[in-house]
Chain length 235, copies 2
């Protein structure tokens, strides 16, 4: 996993909101606070912009026209750890909990004070200075692009089923680390499957046939007998 940091001053902030007035307002406030601001007006544009623009922080309104805000957070969290601050008019506690549990870092209810917003942004940035792993995992002949959900093995793109993709993503995001059968089963199939490693084995086998040159001698997905599986890492 290449580890490129993208923290050149000033910090870049992506503002996601469907109301142009609010985007303009935040643009003004943040620009004068020495931030570089990019805007997106719906969920799909936000995901694309997050991948292309690589912001250091995302301000996200939950009420987007094209997709649910919580879904946007989940999709972002599939590959990125960028701090997300939710700005919402909704006051319901349930929305906050869902957004925070989906991976948001903070939640502000409109209307909010500018001073507080800037302070929350400082907190999030203070914490995040360190790391920003590239969302493309590349090792030898295997390329996994978590943003575009694209897998290339041996020079050709391979199609994975949803389960296979989830499995590979889990391995990629923990590259180098041994994941026990139970950990994988709980993550992908749910707590009720932790005692059924068979379904996992079948999927590992299928995945290997799609991404390994010689599936009987795997180079990427390594078996840790009696324990679980581990994706080869480049260290």
């Amino acid at each position: 996993m290449n580890n490129e940091t993208n923290s050149a001053n000033p910090p870049r902030i992506l503002v996601v909101d469907d109301e142009a007035a609010i985007r303009r307002f935040l643009q003004t406030v943040l620009s004068s606070g020495d931030f570089c601001v990019q805007q997106a007006e719906n969920g799909h544009l936000a995901l694309a912009a997050a991948a292309a623009f690589r912001p250091d922080l995302i301000l996200l309104d939950l009420g987007l026209p094209d997709m649910d805000g919580v879904e946007v957070i989940k999709r972002l969290r599939e590959w990125s750890k960028v701090p997300i601050i939710v700005l919402s008019v909704r006051e319901r506690e349930d929305d906050k909990v869902k957004a925070l549990d989906a991976g948001a870092d903070d939640y502000l209810t409109k209307p909010f004070g500018i001073g507080e917003l800037l302070a929350r942004i400082r907190v999030a940035l203070r914490r995040a200075v360190q790391q920003a792993p590239a969302p493309i995992y590349k090792i030898d002949d295997l390329e996994v692009d978590l943003v575009h959900r694209r897998i290339v093995a041996g020079g050709r793109e391979v199609q994975l089923t949803p389960t296979e993709y989830d499995l590979l993503r889990l391995l990629v995001t923990h590259a180098g680390k041994v994941l026990t059968h139970r950990q994988i089963l709980r993550q992908i199939w749910g707590a009720g499957y932790v005692e059924q490693p068979h379904v996992l084995r079948v999927n590992i086998s299928n995945l290997r046939h799609k991404i390994e040159k010689d599936s009987s001698r795997p180079r990427y997905i390594l078996t840790e007998a009696g324990v679980g599986y581990r994706l080869k890492a480049d260290f």
Copy 2:
């Protein structure tokens, strides 16, 4: 054989508030949420408790009798990065900004919902876990990474069987101490095996062949004749 993976202890939370009613309330709420709770009723006790108790998270009321809450945050931040969530009755934006800039991670205004509080706690803990570096035991040429379940000896990674790994983990977590045969057998094979040191010897032998340069002259796993084994410690 008990082959159970290590499950983390319940996160420890330090509650700092001068009102006993609120401490009791939080104690109840948090304990049922599977947290281990410690209390402090003023700033000085909070600082002492943070040092002694080493909580994973601090819930801090700003209105303390003996010192300003912001001062408590600053003093904590002189040596600790423990997540701090401020709980305050004050609504003034200025207080929030000061607390956040002093090093607090989040700020909730009373009254707050329990669901939201728990969600904010999960966010703070989630982040703290991510940032904690993996502890690696390193003795001369032997490297044991218990998080990644990765063993490197003599510069190359070695594959251990589950039993061998459990055995090495036991030795590593008690590095420098002599573990009797009975202690090891009870831990790894169960109480029924304490009279059968043979299995242990075979596994020690196999382990040595994998991690020692010259297994007939072990440098790491030392035999304490008539007693047990001891892993060399780097002191």
